[in-house]
């Protein structure tokens, strides 16, 4: 197992290096420059020369690439040209929200998608099956942007002043902020140290932070704000998971070992859950892993519609603003997250199917 993890980790290194180089070159290949994005439309050529000089943008590309690679290898992701702040600090602020959103959406997608897929498979060729799959198709084809706006409009405007009203956006109500656990518990952290930044990162997972510190009013405010974006973001993965679960389970139900289990007189529930479902979960887990990666990096629209300051919007703004360091740094982190999730998926195969473990 250890050698498997080591091998996979080593294999991830060239993947990440490749991503870094490709993103670096792509950012410089697209038209536009950071100066105009940063200084505005009225930036004079002289101002741009000065700006580019100050930010090392006049250096040859290979020099810039060399500096960038060297910095990343020393865990320095650079500084945002736009905000004059380290990219790691932006990640500390932005990544937790995206992680919470992605986890919430994934929870909804799995909790909804797997049972729906099972029901559809169990009721194969019935109205329930057709209805479930029709809903799944609608879910897959529903534009997140539109769905998000509709959800926000319905729950915030139409149901305004009712108990079912939900906030249309933001992470918390205006002016409400949680107390970080380290402050609540009286920890004395030295500002600027790794330990302080690590704790800041953890505490920026507001749902987690307010839960462990029992800030219940803020916790519920967070949950209320998270419901709509999580539903909007979960719709497509939910539909995909439901379809994969259904088809995979249907295939498993026709296998010999299921027939054998039935012949042995095992109850149908046991046949499905114990024999068929477990064996049909491999492709479902693969899809869940892929979806998790997509959710981490691809929640741009959801974050935009619901005014959430996560990785997606930061990345989008950075691309528009030609904030090279942010694009590169965030991409590397997302790619690393993707690699880790896929590693976990691979490891879970061994649990779900002992034959893979043996191999």
């Amino acid at each position: 197992m250890l050698s498997f993890i080591t091998r996979r980790t080593l294999l991830a290194i060239p993947v990440l290096l490749g991503i870094m180089i490709v993103v670096f070159l792509l950012m410089r290949a697209i038209p536009g420059d950071p100066c105009t994005s940063m200084l505005g439309e009225r930036a004079t050529p002289e101002a741009c020369v000065e700006f580019n000089e100050a930010n090392g943008l006049n250096d040859p590309i290979y020099v810039q690439l060399g500096i960038y690679m060297k910095n990343v290898l020393t865990f320095n992701l650079g500084e945002s040209v736009r905000f004059s702040r380290p990219v790691t600090q932006l990640l500390i602020e932005r990544l937790p929200l995206t992680t919470e959103l992605a986890m919430s959406a994934l929870f909804i997608a799995v909790a909804g998608g797997v049972p729906l897929g099972i029901i559809a498979a169990r009721k194969h060729n019935t109205l329930i099956d057709s209805g479930t799959m029709a809903m799944a198709n609608i879910g897959v084809s529903m534009p997140v942007f539109w769905l998000g706006l509709m959800l926000a409009y319905f729950f915030a405007v139409v149901l305004r002043d009712t108990p079912f009203a939900l906030p249309p956006g933001g992470r918390l109500s205006a002016g409400v902020f949680p107390v970080p656990y380290y402050e609540a518990w009286g920890w004395n952290l030295t500002e600027g140290t790794f330990w302080a930044r690590f704790n800041e990162y953890i505490a920026n997972h507001y749902i987690f932070d307010t839960f462990i510190t029992a800030q219940w009013a803020i916790f519920w405010d967070l949950i209320r704000h998270m419901i709509l974006p999580a539903i909007a973001l979960a719709t497509i993965p939910l539909a995909i998971i439901a379809r994969i679960t259904r088809s995979s389970l249907l295939e498993a139900m026709n296998k010999d070992y299921v027939r054998t289990a039935r012949a042995k007189g095992a109850p149908e529930r046991r046949v499905v859950t114990r024999h068929a479902l477990r064996n049909s979960l491999l492709p479902v887990v693969t899809i869940i892993g892929l979806q998790m990666g997509l959710l981490l990096g691809g929640a741009v629209l959801t974050e935009t519609v619901f005014k959430l300051a996560g990785v997606g919007t930061a990345l989008f703004d950075a691309i528009i603003g030609r904030d090279y360091a942010v694009v590169q740094g965030f991409t590397v982190i997302i790619a690393a997250g993707y690699v880790i999730v896929n590693l976990l998926v691979d490891l879970s195969y061994g649990y779900l199917d002992p034959r893979i473990r043996v191999k």
Partner: protein, 579 residues
Amino acid sequence: MKRKSVWFALLLALALVASACAGSSGDTDSGATTTAAGAATETTVATDTETTEAPATTVAPDAGFVGTSLEAGGCDYGGRVDSITAIDEFTVDFTLCGPHPAFLAQIAFGVFGVQPAEHLEATGGAPLDNPIGTGPYSLKEWVRGDSVVYARNDAYYGQVAPHETAVLKWATESAGRLIELQSGNADGMTFPSPEDFATIDGDPNLVLLDKPEPNIFYMGFTNTFTPWDNVDVRTAVALGIDRQRLVDTFYPPGSETASHFTPCSVENGCEGDAWYDFDVEAAQALLEGAGLGDGFETKIYYRDVTRGYLPTPGNVAADIQAQLKENLNITAEVIVMESGEFIQASSAGELDGIHLLGWTGDYPHVTNFLDFHFADTNLQFGDPIPEIYEPLKTASQTASAAEAAPLYVEANNAIKEFVPMVPIAHAASAFGATATVEGAYAPPWGQVMFNFWDNGTDTLVFMQGNEPISLYCSDETDGESLRACAQVVEALYSYTNDGEVQPQLATECVPNADLSQWTCSLQQGVVFHDGSSFDANDVVASFAAGLDAANPLHVGNSGVFEYYDYLWNGLINAPATDG
């Protein structure tokens, strides 16, 4: 005794003369606490005490007050500012390099906000997320990515905010901001999409606030390319485009077809003849005369970026393309460019077709529209046209608006005659607010101030389009940052809701006869949010940090201080560039 006094006065006068001579030579030993600021300039400290060792540029009369000054050491560097001096605790003198009629309108612009000199120093010239000002709010917290939270300044000398807290939030999409407003989660919002004007107007819970934002959308030509080097061809396009159709089809209610480049709300903006009427026959005749009766091929360049003056760029470009074909048989290819590339190419006069661009005024003065676009240094429309830029140059140095009016007649008529561009529209825009808010308004110039908005609760929430880039607006250019800063940091002047300028931290700024020197008296007893007192040195320090590239506090966010550079015609001690 009397004799001694005479000798003493004589010595003092000699010392002053000596210091003045040393100052004018540009080779001064700047004194005890001088901050050297490059070969040609210096930032000096003037004292009110007698001194024989330091050649002081200013003698401040108030006991104990040490006045500072920023000196460019002449005007050879090309900028507008010769010196800014704290004459005494509450008087600042701006000595300029020439008459500057737009001085008051310009210093009211939010980027010229004043912060305590000590704070600028303490933050190393980069108070990016902790501004200290004198405004109606102090900054409570900037939650990155989420909101800026302000606390009411109970000691504010102006109208104290009715609510304890103001929260500035943002959503890129206008639809997102509108839903916040409709759901009661926000009290005000910037720039609803024109399609939503009717929705807001029709909702009894909401109010649409007209924002007469002074702007212009135009079609530009570069006269160094054929056939745009022929004024008849340019005039033919001016006559052959139905501008009213564009305004009626693509602009929100309240927008106007432009009669001049500058909106008429700006003094002297609409002097001279109104623009050409739509006249296809006359246009075709001109093209015939130019030997292009059968039409020709060209390009329409634009960027796919929505602005107040161009709400639907793609649609407008397509309609202009269609009109050129229908009316003048001109075949135009529409080319969408990346925004930065487009700005760069159009500014350099490198676009060989028609380019679609616009402008939103920074401050209420006609120079902000005309001088930027039609000066002899601007290559956007190709070779600059003397018939336009010469009267503009004279007008920009004419003290009286009435005296300048004939010059603007001349310039505007020359613009009509030589057609470097075709002015299309002055676009309307708006803010939205909930109907329960009292005092909601949308100013034409400057920023909306939340302390005038009363929603009857302890917290006011306002939505804008984007997060501020930083809260040190001396070095920012985007409206979102400027709006966020304006609640905290104030300038010497500000704009009224009618677009006039009014004293803010100054009680008045009085010019000399030719408007080249402005002496500003400051409000007394004003206190910054950190408890320190506002005085003339804070004004000098704030301007020095922005204007003097060699000042150690000239740091900011990008370090470029774009508006200081652009509005004062260049920075003092600007580093030499190859480009």
